[in-house]
Amino acid sequence: MIEGSNNLLLLTPEFVLAGLALLVFTADLIIPEGKKEWVGRIAVVGLIGLLFVTASTVMGITQPVYNNFLLVDHYSFVFKMIFITVGIITILMSEEFVKTNLTSQGEYYGLVLLAILGMNILVQSQEFLTAYISLELLSFCLYVLVGYSKFNPKSNEAAIKYIIFGTFSSAILLYGLSMVYSVVGSTLYSDIAQVLSTSGFMDPVAMLGITFIMIGIAFKLGIVPFHSWIPDVYEGAPIPVTAYLAIGAKIAAFAFLARVVIGVMLPAEELWSSWKIIFAILAISTMVIGNGIAIVQTKVKRMLAYSSIGHSGVLLSGIVVFGSTNGIVLESLGYYLVGYAVTSFAVFSAITAVTYNNNIELIKDFAGLSDEKPLLSASIAIGLFSLAGLPLFVGFTIKFYLFSSISIGGYLWLAGIAVLASLVSLYYYLIMIKSMYVDVPEQERAHADITVRWPMWIVIILSILMTIALGIYPDPLVNQLNEISDLLK
């Protein structure tokens, strides 16, 4: 094992991020009411700077920091870059929404930043308590953000549901941790893995503890049967926050899950060989239930929520083949997450633009959008086609890549089910597309009051371009991601 260093320079991105968050909170006090969007712009500039800071300080370094509690490596580097980018896009797409709908605008941006901090530490932690606290940091920000639209009863309700679910699942996760701890005596991944992989060690307490920890993480990811909160929270949350939940928080939770599986379970081969089965069962039920229920939805946000549950199932089936392939699956998962993020942003940003100053929420309310706002509806349509996995868009290449690596891992049947699930998903995406392009609106010029400002245009155009560009020529990105698969070797 590499001896842990206390070189805090490696944590520069985190310190800078925390500083930036405090700066944003302070700026909120100084900047007068009516110009609060500048708080967000400061945050965006800071985050862009942070991208460079991160690249210059931790790129290419693999080193455990601070008693092995954290591990700075390429995996965490890649995900940090993803989170920061997600943060930038989220803030840009929030601007109009926040200005029109929310009070206390300034704090909104600070909370988004602190959530990124939580995600960053989450992916590099090598110890459960650190992971738990950063997870809570992330969740706390999200609880507040979900309930940020505080005069909207739906938002209140979503926040209540989210926090009750969140604390409940934290309690379960912690109980699992305490069971593991009472057998192992440590909370470091490596120590737990070491004890678990000792030959023939199958202590029921430790096993149940691991199960409970996994359930806690499964909750965050929205794996069936721990998914029930997702549609309600996604529906009630302000829509940029929904995007943040569906993209940022999901990627973070997934990166965390992958890290735990790699760090704790993979070394214990006996343990992992039986856990694989459970993961496969969960993946299948998640894909089936997520996509199945999405068919009968009438509200856009709920449809997207169920579809994101379906995507979690696909991701989970990638986890199943850990250990049976030579690392390529981790890379394809990373690629899937990036492609999913880009595509979802195309959808969510356009939907935000459509809905931020009216109360459109049903799929049929989008009827006739294509005539009035062609670019917005094209953005949604491209995004949905991509999510369904049609070629030419990144959705196809990511799915193809992931399914290929699942099938060389020896799980062709699982890939087959995933293909079928994405076939089903095409059906409900088409319903939405049909509504925009084919159906006749109930009233003339129903979308006349939609105005889109430049930060939103940047997000929309950028994400469409990326959706197409990554679908046609993914090589540079895939090469970047190539190194993270070292973790699985």
Partner: protein, 638 residues
């Protein structure tokens, strides 16, 4: 030849320009797609000449040890990842030029050009003229990509793209509910087959470690692949081909697809896209021939499709739908031929049928354009109104019926020859029945609308512009002349059979005994049609009333649509709502209201779904937790 990649790219650029410019700014939206196609045709002709003249000493060309044909491959790296060996994903963007891709791409480019010129007249007054042309450009771009691609990944991409274009064009007049439904149906049904194709491609990758077709073929030829793997891969690929080529039981989408504009039917649903399934089987022929059983399945599916569709065609009263069933029937014939080792015959028939059927569809477009009706019982006596169309339509129909000297005769003859040589007597008899049926329905489609008694007044029929007739004339010339290619290949000393072949080239020639039997059967069918539709002999009428029951079944297309509707209504949707029901309502209502209320709550599901409660969700979670925990302990303790 190395510039062939330009053909799809130019059309794609035309697609982008046309969809951006639309017909708001540019009134003549056809200009870019048509120019792109003309450029493409130029490149194609240039490449074809190059291939025919100097194909043995070009740099990238090799003679394939499996097929025996010379193929030229050009590729660039696309994306690659992974570690080493079998786990590397290496993908190439590449295309291959061999006789097969040359034939299919040539057909696509040529027919597309004719159809696009025709559409200038046909679609002139449509409000979405620009959109029509941009999708057409996208279609032709992806169709050429499909024909040229040298790996399965790219082929799959193109495959999905042509499906998408087909969906968009079938639903082109989306104001009509029928068109919307038809588009959805076509998309869903073909996607079902595509799932098979995708899994097949994944399986190929697992087995071979490459998406490249030539890698697959050499791997298969080396005998390393087990027979059941060959069977399942070819079966999965065939599933995709069945969906695209509307083979039984996926045939239901094609007749409905006629809701789209008629030129679209001519191009996509007669000549090119639907033939992609046949092309796929031909392309992966080295795989199929390794599996006896699969070949038999291919020919049986082909036979069932061909005869079933031909019977429906004999009773269909909608001109375009009748032509669509004829298309299905001929596609079935091609599959049958492929299954009976008639590789060259199938492709020859693909080309001959493509030209003829495009001509027929454009002819029906003329009728549609001038009298705005497609019910053949309400037509009759059209020959006085549309003399030019009548002649052109007859050429196409007689060609497909198999009248000598027209192209359909040569290709159908080759198909029959290979069936007779390679399959047993049952297949031979069935193919004769098929010849009879196709002659019968073709003569019916000629007599009833054009020569029968005039049933209505044509005084306000529209005149046809020349821009619609000229492309049809060019197509007709091809229909007449193309068959001679079978006997003599321009630029080559010998016939089509030595140009495009599988493993053994052979000179095409007439087998007099088989040809004469076919001819006699065709003439018999003509005679029957004459007696039936012109003389209206009473014995046939009694026959018709006697067989009322059978004819009703055929007229209702064997009730396949109803069957599928029932399947979807009674199985797929209930499962979806059952899952939803389980998730939200069942758990909740049973828990909250007890079994007494279940009936009522399910009954008034729409109005009464009291859910969204935290404790129900939490309970669900906890149950999941317990199940997982117990499952886990059980696994461990086992």
């Amino acid at each position: 030849m190395q510039y062939f990649w330009l053909i799809p790219v130019i059309s794609f650029i035309a697609f982008i320009i046309t969809s951006l410019v639309g017909n708001k700014i540019l009134k003549q939206a056809w200009i870019f797609p048509v120019v792109a196609i003309i450029l493409g045709l130029g490149i194609y002709c240039f490449g074809l000449t190059e291939y025919l003249q100097s194909r043995f000493d070009l740099e990238h060309c090799v003679r394939s040890s499996v097929t025996g044909m010379v193929g030229c491959n050009y590729s660039v790296g696309w994306f690659s990842a992974g570690v080493t060996g079998k786990e590397t994903v290496d993908s190439f963007l590449g295309f291959t030029v061999d006789p097969l891709s040359l034939s299919v791409a040539g057909l696509a480019i040529f027919v597309a050009l004719m159809v696009q010129i025709y559409s200038i007249g046909y679609m002139k007054d449509d409000p979405r003229f620009g959109w029509y042309y941009s999708v057409q450009a996208l279609f032709i771009s992806s169709m050429i990509l499909l024909a040229l691609s040298d790996n399965f990944l790219l082929l799959y991409v193109a495959w999905e793209l042509v499906g998408l274009c087909s969906y968009l064009l079938i639903g082109f007049w989306y104001e009509k509910p029928d068109a919307k439904e038809a588009a959805k149906k076509a998309f869903t049904v073909t996607r079902l087959g595509d799932v098979g194709l995708l899994i097949g491609v994944l399986l190929i990758w697992i087995e071979v470690g490459s998406f490249n077709m030539s890698d697959l073929f050499s791997y298969v030829a080396s005998g390393q692949m087990e027979s059941w793997v060959i069977f399942s891969i070819s079966g999965l690929l065939f599933l995709g081909a069945m969906g695209k080529s509307a083979q039984f039981p996926f045939h239901v989408w094609l007749p409905d697809a006629m809701e789209g504009p008629t030129p679209v039917s001519a191009l996509i649903h007669a000549a090119t896209m639907v033939a992609a399934g046949v092309y796929l089987v031909a392309r992966t022929y080295p795989l199929f021939v390794e599996s006896e059983a699969m070949m038999l399945i291919v020919s049986i599916i082909g036979l069932i499709t061909a005869i079933g569709a031909a019977l429906i065609c004999c009773v269909s009263i909608d001109l375009k739908r009748a032509l669509a069933y004829s298309t299905i029937s001929h596609l079935g014939l091609m599959m049958l031929s492929l299954g009976a080792f008639g590789y060259t015959a199938a492709i020859l028939h693909l080309l001959a049928h493509g030209f003829s059927k495009a001509l027929l569809f454009l002819g029906s477009g003329n009728i549609m354009h001038s009298i705005d009706d497609l019910d053949i019982n309400r037509m009759g006596g059209l020959k006085s109104v549309l003399p030019g169309t009548t002649i052109l339509f007859c050429i196409g129909a007689l060609s497909l019926a198999g009248i000598p000297l027209l192209s359909g005769f040569w290709s159908k003859d080759e198909v029959i020859v290979s069936i007779v040589h390679n399959r047993n007597i049952l297949f031979a008899i069935s193919s004769m029945i098929l010849v009879f049926l196709s002659g019968f329905y073709m003569i019916r489609l000629i007599i009833t609308p054009f020569f029968g008694t005039q049933n209505r007044d044509y005084s306000n029929a529209h005149k046809l512009p020349m821009v619609m007739l000229i492309p049809m004339g060019v197509l007709a010339v091809f229909v007449v002349l193309f068959g001679w290619v079978a006997l003599y290949m321009p630029g080559l000393p010998s016939s089509f059979g030595t140009f495009l072949f599988y493993s053994h080239p052979k000179n095409f020639h007439l087998e007099p005994d088989i040809a004469s039997i076919t001819l006699v059967v065709t003439l018999l069918s003509f005679g029957a049609g004459y007696l039936f539709y012109v003389k209206r002999i009473s014995i046939f009428q009694t026959f018709k009333t006697r067989m009322k029951f059978l004819i009703t079944i055929i007229e209702n297309k064997y009730y396949f649509d109803e069957l599928y509707q029932i399947l979807v209504d009674k199985i797929v949707l209930p499962i979806a709502s059952l899952v939803a029901l389980f998730d939200r309502v069942l758990v909740n209502d049973i828990g909250i209201n007890g079994p007494g209320h279940i009936t009522r709550s399910i009954g008034s599901l729409i109005r009464y779904h009291v859910t969204g409660r935290i404790y129900v969700y939490l309970g669900l979670m906890t149950s999941g937790m317990i199940i997982l925990g117990i499952l886990w302990l059980w696994i461990v303790r086992l």
